[in-house]
Subunit: 215 residues, 2 copies
DNA sequence: ACTTGTCCTGTCATGACGTCAGCTTACCGA
DNA sequence: TCGGTAAGCTGACGTCATGACAGGACAAGT
């Protein structure tokens, strides 16, 4: 399935090599959590992994290349977010629960991977196609389902004709991602974590169904 | 009012110095638009401004310091976003128009300053207080008014009691900012610019009033 | 022990960083 | 007109990260 892991100079990596490679990725991940992206240096990652910069360059072209690798793993994990919406109903009380669980799951995922995700966000915003694609891969899992839900309700006449399902779904997903990235900002607006979630769920429910939830 | 502009080593900057300083800021701004933040180097900015790196360091401690300066100017400009909501009504047709104009104004502002704003966003997400404060300064102008609008409707009983005005307003503002940053992402979801805006306005209207707009 | 291929690092040229002393320019009062 | 003074700029320098290479260390099979 996935082609063998290869070093930059074309050799196939063996067991030991793969371990070193992974260790470098882990250390890079940690560094991204603890220092600004701009200040993450190859030499620091290598030192932290107990190896030399030259070793780093054997496995990755540069910091960005390694970041893309991590992001790939996260994106694969993120595809599981689709389950949050698989076979869920948006009607009545069930709809309210669907919205709540979506918000919960999404925020958890984002929080767990916040460091790498904000780098992906930056790369995508800067127009880098590789980051852009990864961001899409993550968001699409949720966005597709959400678009489908809106379109379905629209077909049943329960949502206005002039609503664009993809636009609404995309905006909601983007909102969830951004709010997750800036949760701290809400505390200075006097909003606590616990209060934030139901209000987000409310917005999602309103956006998808056009109606207030029945709780 | 504003204390005199000073060089890093404490001298006050005269006319010529201020011009050089501003030129450096302008060139930095351009570079932020054309290359990834991580790759913006002092030496490139200086070259572009037709001066030497040493001159750059006379006015700014580092690239980040200069970015903060630009962001300050943008934040001052962004305070004007409050006008988009000053004295507006959220009732009936007027409410729909308010939502539309808010979306329009916000997206325009973000697009005009996208390069610097995504750096501010990154800094804030990374927990840097200086960037965080600037982001707040920009968003507060809109968020305050929006929170007020929701709270007012809530007082009149037209919005549910258990809605947290600040949480809803903050989420909507965050959504606008994020969507503006990732407008390109929507095209790959098959959503055109022109379609995006009314759907965003719909979400804003729904969030603020809890009802569909009358158009 | 010997070969083979993987894995790592010492070393080096290159180039960015950030500081400093010192040169040039502009302004101002005598 | 002529210094004097402060502003403005840069060349030069030590330090450090980058990225490439060749060669040494190591494990595994023969």
């Amino acid at each position: 399935m996935t082609g063998q892991v290869r070093t930059v100079d074309g050799r196939v990596a063996g067991r030991r090599g793969q371990a070193t490679r992974q260790k470098l990725l882990d250390c890079l991940s940690e560094m991204l959590s603890s220092s600004p992206y701009r200040d993450v240096k190859v030499i620091d990652v290598a030192r932290k992994a107990g190896t030399s910069p030259a070793t780093f360059y054997q496995y990755f072209p540069d910091v960005e290349g390694a970041v893309l690798e991590i992001a790939d793993q996260v994106a694969a994990d993120g595809a599981g977010l689709a389950e949050l919406l698989e076979g869920r109903s948006w009607a009545g009380r069930a709809g309210w629960q669907t919205a709540q669980e979506l918000v919960d799951g999404f925020l958890d995922f984002w929080k767990k991977n916040d460091a790498i995700l904000r780098v992906v966000d930056l790369g995508a915003a800067e127009g880098d196609k590789r980051f852009y694609k990864l961001r899409m891969k993550i968001l699409n899992s949720v966005n597709g389902s959400l678009t489908g839900a809106v379109a379905e309700l629209q077909a049943k006449g329960r949502v206005d004709k002039d609503v664009n399902p993809a636009a609404v779904a995309g905006s909601l997903v983007t909102m969830l991602a951004a709010v997750a990235s800036h949760q701290k900002g809400f505390t200075s607006w006097g909003v606590k974590q616990a209060e934030l979630k139901p209000n987000l769920a409310l917005l999602v429910h309103l956006g998808v169904t056009g109606r207030k939830p029945t709780r």
